[in-house]
């Protein structure tokens, strides 16, 4: 039920401006490919494993192949044709054998023409189709498990993070968290993975402040959660991160291993990891197409802006980013029910009426995106180490989420910014959440902000400021707005950032069967 009485015309204007602001960027994304998109394509086509003999450590085979193709005939035509042409020419059975031959210097990649081109196209399409079929089967399997075991009994779903660095320890913590009431387990990645231009291989045990996202780690954790799902009688979802330089590949791995949610923001990598803007937009589009196919809920990262910018002054930048994320997601084929748009409870608690302002912002998001599973993020910036105050703040955070109908609630930790949570911290945090949900579960039904009160007025003001900013972005161009520090106060020029050398302008005869199949059937 609408409580804010937002003007449908203003809302429509906001969406239209977001679409116009995004348009040139979408065109840019369509005109380019990246090394990561090409690697993701080969991963869908079945390549696995790593070169363990390489002096730089375990280099994934897919990186060896794509780098070599780039050296021999460039990537502007796509990696699929040269690779599948070479596979037939050398009479090799699998892409991994081809990779081994590549590493041994036995393969010379060329761009096939005529009948050879057609043969390579067919073989590549068949291989990618097999990969997508696995993704489709996983999606159907998830649906079946949800139907059998059930969704969590109430909203918001409770989202809890584990981050030990060792996948085996993560499994222990995740199982315990699920038994204690967590509906969604997120495995935080090792610090720094976002800037690796490859996806590590195998089960890993030595991450920093998190665990590496690898295909094998995904498999291990999903299997563990399947077991515990049966035990607790509800389908426990698994989340990881499709951000950084390997967004498309990690999206593919998530689809192949039946992950359920992925962090995937259109601008986070640019702003907070200084990744090249064009690289990010190209990678983001492909990865979202894969998520759409896999039925994965994306989680966007608007909460991050409020950790660097002021949560009141910058409230409208969250709305703008949500609208842009929504547009980019729709454009990539993601429907509303897969859009976990993010926002956060980050207003300085010393500000008078801070809780009412939080309610205004959260309700605005709820009413702007009525069908999206919004992700509500806890306070981090104003957690001071005073764990007693933090515990109270987290209680208010949960109450705000409940009152404004948020869909996914990331459990706040009173030890935020102090230590990685103790077993007891997580237990106390979950008790805090359960108390609020039990004590005030139906309060939303009684919650009617006064029509001309502070909450309603503030929501209208933020939406107005968002529309103004969007209009400016349409005039200046989104890339320039990013370069000027519009979001999170970070200035990121379009030519700068990491991974820029991995961006390639597509040639007219560019071919990517994965992109074609995803475009045709999102």
């Amino acid at each position: 039920m609408a409580l804010l009485d937002l003007d449908p015309k203003v809302v429509a204007t906001a969406r239209e401006l977001a679409a116009r602001a995004a348009e040139p960027v979408v065109a840019l994304a369509k005109a380019h490919t990246t090394v990561a998109v090409e690697r993701a394509t080969l991963r869908l086509a079945g390549i696995t494993g790593a070169d363990t003999t390489h002096r730089a450590g375990d280099v994934p085979w897919v990186n060896r192949v794509v780098d070599t193709v780039r050296e021999h005939c460039g990537l502007e035509h796509g990696v699929a044709l040269p690779v599948f042409h070479a596979l037939r020419e050398h009479d090799l059975g699998t892409l991994t054998e081809l990779a081994e031959a590549t590493a041994a210097g036995q393969v010379r990649y060329t761009l096939p023409t005529g009948r050879d081109r057609e043969r390579a196209r067919k073989a590549a399409t068949a291989a990618v189709t097999r990969g997508l079929r696995t993704v489709d089967r996983n999606r159907a399997h998830r649906d079946k498990l949800v139907a059998k075991l059930g969704d969590p009994p109430r909203r918001p779903w409770i989202y809890l993070i584990v981050a030990t660095g060792d996948i085996d320890e993560d499994v222990v913590q995740a199982r315990n968290a699920a038994r204690a009431g967590a509906d969604i387990i997120a495995v935080i990645r090792s610090t720094g993975q976002s800037l690796l231009d490859y996806v590590p291989e195998g089960a890993t045990h030595h991450g920093f402040a998190g665990t590496y996202a690898t295909q094998e780690n995904f498999r291990i954790m999903r299997a563990a959660l399947d077991d515990v799902s049966k035990e607790v009688g509800r389908y426990v979802r698994l989340t990881n991160y499709a951000s950084g330089l390997c967004m498309p590949e990690i999206a593919v791995l998530a689809g192949l291993q039946r992950l359920d949610m992925m962090l995937n923001d259109s601008m986070y990598g640019i702003l907070f990891r200084d990744i090249n803007p064009i690289r990010t937009f190209v990678d983001q589009r492909f990865s979202r197409q894969v998520h759409a196919r896999a039925g994965i809920v994306i989680n966007t990262g608007e909460d991050n802006y409020l950790t660097t910018a002021d949560a009141i002054d910058a409230a409208h930048t969250v709305t703008v980013s949500q609208l842009l994320n929504e547009h980019f997601a729709h454009e990539a084929g993601l429907p509303d029910h897969l859009l976990g748009l993010g926002h956060a409870f980050e207003i300085n608690p010393a500000v008078p009426e801070s809780f009412r302002l939080e309610l205004a912002h959260a309700l605005l998001a709820r009413e702007l995106f009525p069908d999206a599973p919004l992700k509500w993020m806890p306070p981090t910036k104003h957690m001071t180490g005073d764990v007693f105050h933090g515990y109270l703040l987290d209680g208010f955070f949960t109450l705000a989420g409940l009152l404004t109908g948020q869909s996914i609630l990331l459990v706040g930790m009173m030890t935020e910014a102090v230590v990685t949570p103790f077993l007891s911290d997580r237990d106390l945090a979950l008790r805090n959440v359960r108390y609020v949900l039990d004590a005030a579960g139906g309060l939303r039904d009684d919650f009617r902000p006064a029509p001309d009160g502070l909450i309603v007025k503030r929501a209208h003001q933020v939406l107005g400021e968002a529309v103004d900013l969007l209009a400016r972005i349409v005039d200046d161009g989104l890339l320039d707005a990013i370069a000027d520090g519009t979001f999170g106060l970070m200035k990121r020029p379009a030519t700068g950032g990491k991974g820029a050398d991995g961006v390639i302008t597509k040639a007219d005869d560019y071919l990517n069967p994965a992109a074609d199949l995803l475009e045709a059937h999102p």
Binding site: N176, R179, A180, S190, T191, F272, T307, V418, L423, L489
Partner: protein, 263 residues
């Protein structure tokens, strides 16, 4: 102020503290007894286990109140007292102008794999922290914020190229002592590359103790809750000591010499 003090509950000298912890023991009277024993060994005597509850089947969480027998001798307390006056931004600008006749160059970064720029941004970004504007706000400071995950060689290169007067590094991640190892690697690299002509090295992060400067090989360490104004005031103080006192060894130079012996 009396020299000897004990914790204060509601009566002077009662020594009352509260603490909480988890033991890997199933909940029950036996677990409560175990908590009592631990509290006693911690010096809490008598100890009251006022609350316990199970966490899963194998763990129990406790809240304990009680009186500690320890006495604090305030004369034995060793902390880094702020060795410089806090100056308002205007005064910082005029002092820099007078002393250097150019802008003071500050290069900041999160080094190693640490991607948590919250700390360095709070100090450097104009937005600032705790109601104080960041160093970018100071007219006479030139701030170069390299952002997250900057490698040490890259930091040294940029510091040199920018002719940095001071280098600020922020470290949040503490797993496997990454914050200590990264900072030591950084200070060693600056010593190796630039010797005595190296810029002021400043490390900051929530888990740093200001007493760690020598161990880390830096000139100053800032811990939790540091504001941009404190850092700016320190910078002015540090260049003041260096420029006013070039003959005799400055505090920083002495510390550097001492570190060489350690290294």
């Amino acid at each position: 102020m009396t020299r000897h003090v004990r914790p204060y509950g509601d009566t002077t000298g009662d020594g009352m503290v509260q603490t909480s912890f988890t033991l890997p023991v199933p909940a029950g009277p036996h677990a409560d007894g175990a908590a009592q024993q631990l509290a006693n060994k911690m010096g809490i005597d008598p100890a009251m286990v006022v609350h316990s509850h199970p966490i899963g089947d194998d763990f129990t969480f406790f809240v304990v109140y009680g009186s500690v027998r320890h006495i604090v001798d305030l004369d034995d307390v060793r902390v880094v007292e702020r060795e410089y006056p806090l100056l308002p931004p205007a005064e910082i600008n005029t002092t820099v102008k007078k002393l250097l006749r150019r802008k003071l160059v500050v290069v900041g970064a999160c080094i190693g794999t640490d991607a948590h720029t919250v700390g360095i941004d709070a100090i450097l970004n104009i937005k600032g922290f705790a109601g104080e504007k960041g160093l970018e706000y100071y007219r006479e400071l030139k701030v170069v914020n390299l952002g997250a995950q900057v490698s040490v060689p890259e930091l040294v290169r940029r510091a040199r190229a920018e002719k940095a007067d001071a280098v600020l590094v922020s470290q949040v991640v503490t797993q496997r002592d990454a914050h200590i190892l990264n900072t030591q690697e950084m200070s060693a690299a600056f010593r190796e590359a630039m010797g005595e002509r190296r810029p002021l090295l400043i490390a900051g992060g929530p888990r740093f103790d200001p007493l760690m400067a020598a161990e880390l090989g830096v000139d100053r360490v800032f811990g939790r809750g540091t504001t941009p104004g404190e850092v700016a005031s320190y910078l002015v103080h540090a260049i003041h000591t260096t420029s006013a006192d070039t003959k005799t060894t400055t505090t920083a130079a002495a510390a550097r010499a001492a570190r060489k012996e350690n290294a």
